[in-house]
């Protein structure tokens, strides 16, 4: 489980997070949602340590990540997998070498064992026969799936996905969402997904945190978000008249 307790963060005197607290449980799709510039990515970056929190705590199964030194953090990071918005695959490495990278850096497996594990992960995300392609030769959806394969290569306990659907068509987005959900349930990972894609929210949001103006404005599930009376959530999730009508119909039905 990942827990954040009263985290605050500011950049050059401008506060962007105010006392944000939340618990993210394993085996669930935990979503952090919010409009652009409201602090959801900063929250995620504070959790994984790409930004230092000004105050508050980040706990990984009770271990205080925010109070750890670099060496201690490295140990926790070996248990973290992350899918980046732009996939962040290493340009100069082939598909299979990208997936083998964390294994090469942190395990003592033989070349054959690493290849076997990477092939298994690529198989799991339905990338078959593309081992020797470079990332630039793969489509956006393929790159995301390779990014997921790399993220799960070390059998992580915690999986972070930063806007996994950005730049993808709705159909591919659903494929990626379902893949992340399947892996989360299968490996009982604590998965945290940063998104503002409403399809994802409705489809896979087991636990949703809504961040607005740097504060946690709402918390619940995809079922609860339909019936919420929270004005901030309603104005974000049901921004278009189509979605407003849809919500009314859902509530009435």
């Amino acid at each position: 489980m990942v827990e954040i307790i009263n985290i605050n963060k500011s950049f050059s005197g401008t506060q962007v997070l105010y006392d944000v607290s939340a618990k993210f449980e394993p085996g669930k799709m935990n979503l952090i949602i919010g409009a652009s510039g409201q602090g959801k990515s900063v929250t995620a970056k504070c959790i994984v340590g790409l930004h230092e929190v000004d105050s508050g705590q980040v706990l990984y199964d009770g271990r205080d990540f925010s109070a750890m030194n670099r060496k201690q953090r490295t140990e926790i990071r070996k248990e973290i997998g992350m899918l980046f918005q732009g996939s962040a695959l290493f340009d100069s490495l082939t598909v299979i070498e990208n997936v083998m990278f964390p294994l090469r850096m942190f395990t003592n497996k033989t070349e054959e064992e690493m290849r076997e594990r990477a092939a298994f992960c690529l198989n799991r995300v339905n990338i078959i026969g593309k081992d020797n392609l470079l990332p630039a030769e793969c489509s956006g959806g393929m790159q995301k799936r390779i990014g997921i394969a790399r993220a799960i290569a070390m059998n992580p306990k915690y999986l972070f996905c930063d806007e996994p659907n950005s730049g993808l068509d709705p159909k591919t987005s659903i494929v990626i969402d379902n893949l992340i959900r399947e892996l989360t349930y299968e490996y009982k990972m604590t998965t945290i997904v940063i998104t503002h894609d409403m399809n994802s929210v409705m489809e896979v949001g087991d636990h949703i945190i809504f961040i607005n103006q740097g504060r946690k404005a709402w918390e619940g599930s995809n079922k609860e978000i339909i019936r919420t009376e929270n004005e901030e959530v309603i104005s974000f999730v049901y921004a278009s008249s189509f979605m407003k009508n849809l919500r009314e119909k859902l509530i009435n039905s």
Binding site: E75, R77, I80, M82, F84, G86, D91, M105, F106, F160
Partner: protein
Amino acid sequence: MLRSVFTKPEKWKVFRKRFFNEVDYIVINSIPLVAFLSVFMGAVISLQTASNMSSPLLPEYTIGYITRQSTILEFSPTIISLIIAGKVGSNIASEIGTMRVTEQIDALEIMGVNSIGYLMLPKILATMIFFPFVVVVSMTLSLIGGWIAGVQSGLYTTETYVLGIQAFWYEDADGLYYALTKTVVFAFLLTAIPSYYGYYTRGGALEVGRSSTKAVVASSVAILLANYVLTQLILI
């Protein structure tokens, strides 16, 4: 940042592979350009020296002597370093800068890799260790260029040129150590500065381009300043 650069690598096997890749990419790939420049610069140095030596009191072998001293003390270590700073510096800054803006560096950090050490140490060490050999190659080719140009144009004979190259060597041999010491320092500057600019790039493609330009300018200026300081410290 320097402390992170010189931290023990996570995996020596990975480091070794990256190190030799950088030797190939930065050092070996520079040899054709260095060879071309050295031959022609050596030729020009000797021709200009010969054309300015009108005094009958100066022996003819002085041409070879001056060519050797100019090449060893200044041309090969400093000018070649400046040219390589332009070629390699922009490559390094844009490579690391692109990795930064496409979140590849964040990906390394999240995995627990010391990204500064992983990206910079192989480049810096590969250049510091092997760049002096490139400079020695440059010195040799420059002297050969001077010999070809002078003999070809009938300004001096092979014997007088070789005599000039050998002249006072027992007194001037320290110049070679001075030149190679400079080269090691320049090698550090021409890789560490662009790495720094690349690593701290923020934004997108435009900023990567800016970082690359800044890196070349800063490393060239640093090389010239270091050249002055080292000359003052070692030669004077």
